[in-house]
Amino acid sequence: MTTMIESGEIKQIIVITDGRSNMGINPVEAAKRAYNAGMTVSTIGVINLRGSSDEKDIEEVEEIAKSGGGLCEYSHIEDLSRTIQNLTHKTAQRTIEQIVSRQLKTIVGEEIENLEPRSRLKIVDFIEKYGESVNLKCIVLLDTSGSMRDKLAIAKRSLLELLENLQGRKGSSSIAVIAYPGGEEYMSSTICEFTSELNILKQKLEGIRCGGGTPTGPAIIRACQLMEQYYEVNSKDIQGESEALKYYV
């Protein structure tokens, strides 16, 4: 597996869906590929009030997050904004926790869980501070199948609020948005490439329309490619963060 922070940035994919994938590659398989490529895939299952979500839907969002090394949350559409902010933050923190834990193992021979609880404080502080200052690249995969139609307005607003919230971080943050279903071979459309500008995101989100099936798997693959493309164009050096850690531990 490649390191999770290449180029000193955290790379996340967040899937927002209210149903089960029904087209293309299995999304659990796709999430595994993303994970192996150094990204985490987290999921938010939007709960349908009229009870049309069934157990299989829930199983799938959980499985995607599990194989994508991310976290899974459920949310009513009204609470989506807060859920997505929390999830982004927690996923980033967990990614760092895993890196720190691995580093700790090489430096002091123990994982954080095997340290005496009180001596974890310093490391936890480091994880928190680092989590705020590391750069973050986040791709949101938004399910825009027919059933999401009446939730779209809130979903768009939640994405704007996510970016607004991330701007308060000390490190730079940018998000990209892919809507699925969509055109072309990956059954999804890139709505917005990586941006840190609220205005740009707002303008691009205007273009989203709902309708069609739920090709979650193909959309994840599309996100991987978007991430990789970005790094091919903007390759940066990798060193920084492991140096910072040595200083702390």
């Binding site: 807060r82 929390n86 609880p117 928190e128 705020e132 607004e164 308060g168």
Partner: protein, 289 residues
């Protein structure tokens, strides 16, 4: 975590065992149980798989351990259950009820509400004085401690250094959700949460920033016959004209005294009116007989 009552868990580092008596609640990062130790001592145990959050909240609680309002905190440890590692800390079990219960069951008077708001304001001021903002203010996090007869703040997970961004919040209390400012943990963010707490107590209901506008909510508040100075104070909380919770505390105090004086005046007026009507009745009787 699991539903079996009277399950026991064993702390990995201390070796102490605890019996889980019942689940007290579920927060953003984990669950809280009422537990008994080997000697029958009762504690609240916060449990989560999130090592960062549990460790952080433990250290927040320790930081405030010398102040009366925060729950006392005892141990930080891990246990294993069903092949999974959980992290936990033990804290004082506060017997009492939340402000949510008090509002819905007790029918608080106007005076009660002002008093509660003042106590919460001064408590927040103490947190602010130490360089932190309590971002997740809400009814559920304010507890009336029956045993000691005081108001306490629980769930210190949301405590954020002044100047950082707000991460834990409840939409109803969040300045940004109401389009009234950013989500930066500063003193005016804290005062804003107090403004919302006041409105919600006075109107006796929750508000929803997704569906309502703050101006309209304030219009509703204006229709009630609360003292003008209280309405102004709430307004100043929302637009940032009150710089910190200390000032808010003083302004609420002035309103308390005013409304008490006002009440006195009404008593006197009522007495005057009553005696006048008796006099009138006597006069009428004298004229018509």
């Amino acid at each position: 975590m699991y539903s079996n009552r009277y399950d026991t868990v064993r702390g990995r580092w201390t070796g102490k065992t605890y019996t889980l008596l019942k689940r007290l609640g579920k927060g953003g990062i984990g669950e809280i149980y009422l537990v008994a130790d080997e000697y029958g001592g009762r504690y609240a145990m916060k449990v989560s798989q999130d090592i960062v959050s549990i460790t952080k909240e433990f250290s927040n609680l320790e930081e405030f351990s010398d102040i009366y309002f925060a729950p006392k905190v005892y141990e930080l440890d891990d246990f294993e259950k069903g092949g999974k590692v959980y992290h936990f800390f033990l804290m004082e079990y506060i017997q009492g009820y939340t402000l949510r219960d008090a509002i819905t069951k007790d029918k608080l008077t106007f005076g009660n509400k002002l008093d509660i708001a003042r106590i919460v304001a001064i408590t927040l001021k103490e947190i602010n004085n130490r360089g932190f903002i309590y971002t997740d203010l809400k009814y559920e996090n304010i507890m009336i401690d029956r045993k000691h007869g005081i108001i306490r703040l629980v769930d210190l997970g949301s405590i954020t250094p002044i100047g950082d961004r707000v991460r834990e919040y409840t939409p109803m209390y969040d300045r940004s959700k109401w389009n009234s400012g950013n989500r930066k943990a500063d003193l005016s963010y804290q005062v804003f949460t107090m403004g919302i707490l006041l409105i919600s107590m006075l109107l006796n209901r929750d508000m929803n920033p997704e569906r309502e506008q703050l101006e309209k909510v304030m219009k509703h508040l204006e229709k009630h016959s609360f003292p003008k100075s209280l309405y102004d104070t709430v307004n100043d909380c929302l637009d940032g004209s009150i710089p910190d919770c200390g000032i808010l505390y003083e302004r609420l105090g002035a309103i308390c005294r005013c409304s008490f004086a006002g009440r006195k005046l009404t008593y006197v007026l009522n007495a005057v009116i009553a005696s006048l009507s008796v006099l009138l009745a006597v006069l009428i009787r004298a004229v018509f007989t």
